[in-house]
């Protein structure tokens, strides 16, 4: 199921409700729904933060088939930003050494089962999958 969302943090509740309805209808467990919602938020907020001058909507597609949840986020008129590139976060650093920020993509890459990115004609598309079983 596909829907466009305004490029604004205030869309997060609507995105959560949109995905939650689909996941609940497919009887996806809470232990899987949580990381799916988290991955969606991290991707969406990343798109909002790094393209502040772009006013176009962000497309979100959520599909559940054969035990696999597939989520696709698409945006147009943007520069390339490969979210699959390795993120260097020292999670063992001390409090003094750590700084706020930078965790979103690191978390994303660690909680999904598969993450893909493609960029063409100033359109970014991110696809992630999460197994429900």
């Amino acid at each position: 199921m596909y829907r466009d969302f305004a490029r604004d943090f205030d869309s997060l509740t609507a995105i959560y409700e949109f995905a939650e309805k689909i996941l609940a209808a497919n009887e996806i467990s809470e232990s899987v729904r949580f990381p799916v919602h988290l991955a969606m938020e991290e991707l969406f907020t990343n798109m909002v933060k790094y393209n502040p001058d772009n006013r176009s909507d962000i497309g979100v597609d959520v599909d559940v088939a054969a035990g696999t949840i597939t989520v696709t986020l698409t945006e147009s008129g943007v520069d390339e930003f490969d979210v699959t590139r390795p993120i260097d976060v020292d999670t063992g650093a001390s409090l003094d050494e750590r700084s706020p920020g930078g965790l979103g993509l690191y978390l994303l890459q660690n909680i999904v089962d598969k993450l893909e990115y493609d960029y063409d004609d100033r359109r970014s598309r991110v696809i992630f999958t999460k197994e429900s079983g």
Partner: protein, 96 residues
């Protein structure tokens, strides 16, 4: 929806979903915390990296005066996020 307020024993009760859209509300409250405090997460359902950043920022500020945040009643999903992030080493966290 996200709510934050003091409980009857002085603990800070967080409830709902702490996503990026709710961080300004959480930050306005957390910026007023000046002493060692416990955050009660028993009714917090969800947190994203935006919320983690706020917790880290608050912990670093409090550490400058020898104070600290601890976090209690953390659900399994949020605990996993803390563990992935290494926050279990820089916060005193109690699981639900």
């Amino acid at each position: 929806m996200f709510e934050i307020d003091y409980g009857s024993d002085g603990e800070v009760i967080c409830a709902g979903r702490l996503d990026a859209a709710q961080c300004a509300k959480a930050e306005a409250f957390m910026d007023e915390i000046a002493d060692t405090s416990t955050l009660d997460f028993s009714r917090l359902e969800y947190i994203s990296s935006a919320g983690l950043g706020l917790l880290l920022k608050t912990q670093k500020r409090l550490a400058e005066s020898g104070a600290a945040l601890s976090i209690s009643n953390v659900n399994n999903h949020i605990y996993d996020v803390f563990r992935y992030s290494g926050f279990d080493a820089i916060f005193d966290i109690t699981a639900k």
